[in-house]
Point group: C2
Chain length 128, copies 2
DNA sequence: TGAACATATGAACAGTAATTCATATGTTCA
DNA sequence: TGAACATATGAATTACTGTTCATATGTTCA
């Protein structure tokens, strides 16, 4: 809780807070802006958005088991080759997966341990 | 890479893998199903979906600075009281925030340190 | 109890995203 | 080089999601 010395809201722009006892918005605004910028918030939301689709989550957890080429992923998650390719593009742009070409095939894999940790944290959270 | 002893795909349902050298889909299917179930994948996607919206991310990071009542959050993120309330419901259902009533106001806060960690991991990832 | 305030909910609209089909790009090997 | 295969891309459709407005629920205090 953030309160001024009089335990009373001094915010100019929201006089109603004098009654609701809410925190001083100006103070909060200054504080929270030091925690995360508008731009950072956007990128964070974009990051999690890329893990917010069931198909993409299934792709990511499948890749935790080892690298896979696109056609294998497609069969595993039961989506069209085209569909998987579209989703892989999203994961690629978010920096969640990397890829390498091996002949005609392209193998995708989890970008780094950091990504694996985020996935593990998510799995842990829903298990509570 | 998962391969059988002959280094050759034995999958019945995808004969083309004999050429592309892809992994044995049946083996992968069995392996990855031990990592995460279909139901778990769904809940994980739902969890991250709740952090995939810019407004909700801004709400969460604001709450990292301390508890806040709905009207303060609304002013801080520049959305209608109604809009914030709708988004808080999403965050509540995902177990990301908790709340307590104090008189007429309801104060929301981050559910636990686990949530703060997930947010921090996200922020860390985009900073690479 | 009723007036004032804080929050929640439902409906409607607008913007966005996931999927598929058709097709293009890129690779291998005879 | 050209045929066969693997992946990527564009367009179109369908479904979903975020926002606001109007209103309902719930709390406090005179």
């Amino acid at each position: 809780m953030i309160e001024n010395k009089n335990d009373e809201c001094v915010c100019e722009s929201c006089p109603h807070h004098l009654e609701c006892g809410g925190k001083n918005v100006e103070l909060v605004k200054r504080l929270s802006s030091t925690i995360i910028s508008e731009e950072e918030a956007y990128y964070v939301s974009e990051l999690f958005k890329s893990i917010s689709d069931l198909t993409r989550v299934r792709i990511l957890f499948s890749l935790l088991g080892g690298d896979m080429c696109v056609c294998d992923i497609a069969e595993l998650v039961g989506v069209t080759q085209s569909g998987v390719s579209h989703q892989l593009r999203v994961l690629k742009q978010a920096g969640l997966v990397k890829y390498r070409r091996e002949g005609k095939s392209i193998y995708y894999s989890i970008a780094d341990d950091h990504v694996a940790t985020i996935l593990a944290m998510g799995l842990e959270h829903i298990s509570e």
